[in-house]
Amino acid sequence: MPLVAGIDCGTGFTKAVLLTQNVGTGQITIVSRGKSRSGINVDEAAGAALNDALARTGAARSDVDYIAATGFGRYNLSFRDIAITEITSAARGVFFLNPGPNAVLDVGSQCTRAISVTDQGKVREFKSNDKCAAGSGMFIARAAKYLEVPLESVGELSAKAAHPHPISSVCAVLAESEIINHVSSGVKVEDILRGIHDSLAERAGAMLKRVGMTDGITFIGGVARQSGMVTALEQRLKVKVNVPEECDFVCALGAGILGLRRLASRN
């Protein structure tokens, strides 16, 4: 059975998924996952994520038959067999987890994307923002820093907000002084965090409408781990938000699936 790695070289983290496929039935199985922090050197981060995934299986690097790279740093990954855009990977990954047409929202560290996926798992349309930090995970990370809240606690805290406090600044940098003003005037940290999630949800909603939103969306990327963001999206967009398990590995998964297909056609 072939062993294929999908590696998503993101701006914040690098994610690797190992996949295999039953040659007879065509059944795809996820073998393991690995993760590392992205740095300046893409090869290093990808190697670390892949080794992390391999260590969970007992397989060796030489057992990997094919490597499909995706994400911002994919072209800088020297040991790739193929580079696939993160849009295509996201669509394929979501379709595998949730077959049928989908509206996908992917919020990562530096890039936010809205993708509409056909009933065949293909990309119909997408919008992406990687030019401005206001709609990205980086906005939340910076806000968490000013508020002295660990990033892992942001989602839970925000979900607890009783009186979400709106953030008027669109810019992630200019919002800093606004956040500090809110803190000094006694607004609760969870209410500010939820205000930030609301602001992101607003921007994401505009992108989703442009690609065509269905009554439900699939929310992936690292920010999808934050329950407050999920609540903000559900309340603002009035849609059902489905978050797959291991939501930050979906692009790597999609790349791996396309890698399996490419490998099969090559053999």
């Binding site: 401005c132 940098v173 002084s177």
Partner: protein, 279 residues
């Protein structure tokens, strides 16, 4: 002799200027403080420091006009004016013939179309994005490990400006880091940074009429790299007063002096300013 003051409470710095009427108008003192979290205190500090510098008690000041984003927090002010009006008026005073003002401050940037007597005809403002503000440049300097004062002169050495993928103040960090790791020269990176911001600012300015003379105001006017980049994109020279950083406060002080019941003619101001010797 009548004395009037202008206090410009900006998002980053607070500026105060004292104007004296003595056969013309003369700037007799200036003060600059960090705005910080206590806006009211920053305004008081700047005003008091300015009076100390002039050697007069604060009670000698006949009228105070406040401007800038914190103007309504100035407790001792007699009136408030928008910073748009103040920059236009100040620019017309210090750089006569000004028809367009490009103001780049700590956290916003503006383009103002100015009439012959310093009145505002139209304006465009960017306060939704930190690109084109001092904050952006401070961030870029930080990533490069340089001080804000150094980046302008270094950018002038640029031969091949890099192309910035984004002008987002947050994302520029990774953009700069990746250029540094590719071994690009500091001057070429900074040249690219200044050029990207200049293009963005000029496109803001083109939404109002860009007519000569063009005067640049605000703290970023101290950055020679930004001045040259703007001139390159505009295809014409900018007027830069030595008091460019204080322009909002200067305009406010002129309005304050007017309120004190003075009338004057622009020729007299100009001569008076020339003899005051700027800084």
């Amino acid at each position: 002799m009548r004395i009037a003051a202008g206090v410009d409470v900006g998002s980053t710095q607070t500026k105060a200027v004292l104007l004296q009427e003595n056969g013309g108008f003369k700037i007799i003192a200036r003060a600059l403080t960090q705005t910080g979290a206590n806006v009211q205190k920053a305004a008081e500090n700047a005003f008091e420091e300015c009076c100390r510098a002039a050697g007069i008690p604060t009670s000698d000041v006949g009228f105070v006009v406040g401007t800038g984003y914190g103007r309504y927090k100035i407790t001792f002010g007699n009136a408030q004016m928008t910073e748009i009006s103040c920059h236009a008026r100040g620019a017309q005073f210090l750089c006569p013939g000004t028809r367009t003002v490009i103001d780049m401050g700590g956290q916003d940037s503006k383009a103002i179309s100015v009439g012959p007597s310093g009145e505002v005809l139209d304006f465009m403002m960017n306060d939704k994005c930190a690109a084109g503000t001092g904050r952006f440049l401070a961030n870029a300097a930080d990533v490069m490990g340089l001080s804000l004062d150094e980046i302008g002169p270094i950018s002038l050495q640029c031969k091949r400006p890099v192309k910035m993928a984004t002008v987002c103040t947050v994302f520029v960090e990774s953009d700069i880091l990746s250029y540094l790791s590719q071994g690009k020269k500091a001057e070429d990176i900074l040249g690219g940074v200044h050029l990207a911001i200049a293009k963005r600012t000029v496109s803001l300015a083109r939404r109002v009429a860009v007519e000569p003379l063009i005067t640049m105001t605000g703290g970023v006017a101290n950055n020679i790299g930004m001045v040259r980049a703007l001139e390159e994109v505009l295809g014409q020279k900018l007027q830069i007063s030595p008091d460019a950083h204080y322009m909002g406060a200067v305009g406010a002080a002129i309005f304050a002096m007017e309120k004190l019941g003075q009338s004057f003619e622009s020729g007299i101001w100009r001569d008076a300013y020339a003899t005051s010797g700027g800084h």
